[in-house]
Symmetry: C2
Subunit: 301 residues, 2 copies
């Protein structure tokens, strides 16, 4: 049970966390701050926030749990704004999609208060963003990766875990470096590819006509191409070494299929597709590998 949640950033991620924590009866009081005054007013009206704070620092004051749910580029300034009010017993977390850069910024800014910071990345989201989309069920069944620091004390990691489990998530721990390498593969590269694929079609002279013909396969494949540019600019730049390395692996695999097509080798094309198809059909989100139900998926030509 937490006495007070200090919420810095009242968007989809932060708002959903506050709602879910209240719904679970895990927090008594939520103090919220947003750069935009109208957002925090809306958060109050929606019952996400009990009290509006005029600054990030005031949202931290008296809070034993703090969630920093701001764009990655705003994380370091937020650390600077709040570091003087981090009390013993307070745990604070972020929700950023990259972790090594956040840890570096935290080290630089927080110094002896570093131990209070437990870096977190909830693997959740939905089509719409902003406080209006906040949803007490956003984190239900999703994974949250914690990348604890050597400086963290066990009870701080435990408090962080309690909060995420309380909102319905499964919690995993790994190092910030392992996190960034893994998400370069399963999240950042797919976004990079989706951005490039959508633009490559839209920019053709007949682009508008092509897009009129696209069906449900294209819709799902490119959904993540609509992601927020400033957020993804920060992710792709912060994690560029890992993302570029993953892009090379992808291009090698793409070339394999392309050359089998070019040479007119149907058996080779089929074998390469089957590799992906059987793997993807047996994959289930949030399931340990091998535990998939083996449902035979089939796509949309």
């Amino acid at each position: 049970m937490f006495k007070q949640l200090g919420l810095i950033g009242c968007g989809l991620m932060g708002g959903s966390f506050a709602l879910a924590l209240k719904r679970a009866g895990l927090v008594r009081h939520v103090v919220g701050y947003s750069k935009s005054p109208s957002t925090v007013i809306q958060a109050q009206k929606m019952g996400v926030v009990d009290q509006a704070a005029d600054s990030a620092l005031l949202a931290v004051s008296g809070s034993d749990l703090v969630l920093i749910a701001v764009p990655v580029a705003a994380t370091e300034p937020t650390f600077r704004a709040i570091r003087h009010l981090v009390q013993p017993g307070t745990v604070f977390m972020d929700v950023g999609s990259t972790k090594a850069d956040v840890v570096t910024a935290a080290r630089r800014v927080l110094k002896e208060r570093l131990k209070h910071f437990v870096p977190a990345h909830p693997i959740a989201g939905k089509e719409s963003s902003g406080i209006g989309a906040a949803d007490a069920n956003l984190y239900r069944g999703c994974q949250v990766i914690l990348t604890p620091l050597p400086e963290n004390e066990p009870h701080q990691i435990e408090r962080a875990t309690t909060a995420w489990v309380g909102v319905g998530a499964q919690v995993r721990q790994m190092s910030a470096e392992a996190h960034d390498a893994a998400f370069a593969a399963v999240s950042h590269l797919p976004h990079l590819i989706a951005f490039a694929a959508f633009s490559a079609i839209a920019r053709q002279p007949a682009g508008d006509r092509l897009l009129e013909l696209a069906g449900p396969g294209f819709r799902d494949f490119t959904r993540i191409a609509a992601s927020e540019p400033s957020v993804w600019r920060d992710i792709l730049i912060a994690n560029r070494e890992q993302v570029l390395a993953q892009a090379e692996l992808f291009k090698t695999q793409l070339r394999l299929i392309e050359s089998a097509m070019r040479d007119g080798r149907p058996e080779a094309v089929e074998a390469l597709i089957r590799d992906a198809s059987s793997g993807r059909a047996g994959w289930q989100m949030n399931a340990p590998r091998g535990a998939g139900s083996g449902n035979s998926g089939s796509g949309t030509p």
Copy 2:
């Protein structure tokens, strides 16, 4: 109104068409043939087919509408099997995802009966395949592309259009070549990319662990990677020139973003992402360009 539908191939596409046509009251009787006897028995039990035929030829006998809904590679043998029973007044269609190859096969095999064949590509599908997944609403609101031949008579194209409109689809016409060029961009290339991207991740030494971490963005992005290998082998081989040309455009766009990342140019990265993001957020399936509601989509980091 059709007197009798001859259904050759009782899978998702064919079964859904028969169900929808019956539901709409547009056909009196459905005669179905499947290579697999158990499939046609199931189709009868489900009320998709009124009468089982022992051969494709017998399914055509007495039918004024014939739908060939078999894997692309089986289309030419099907043409050979049925060509001697195509009667005056009969219209037959396929459902293949590539059209130039089907038209070439039709020309080769059907000769003076070619005028009865109206090539069709319904842009529909779902996760599961087979007769068990047949759904009277599969074609509701979807697009169907007809690529009529110079040999078709206007009333044959009209009959084909009537059938698809009757099952709830929007019908468009274009040439087989324009069709294949367009779908290379909006369907075949996305599949090729999804196959390569899934395998590139799964084949890494840590592949299983990576896949355990993947979230909803990855799930949607790779959904089409689970597509049927033999179907997609045929499509990628049949339309390889166009698909390879589209792949070059994609790789050029990918290189643009990669080099902006590598050079550490955040503004350039953001501009390239924004190009895709604003385009994708304003896109709606089956809507003429410019008619999108401008909903601001946002992806899942």
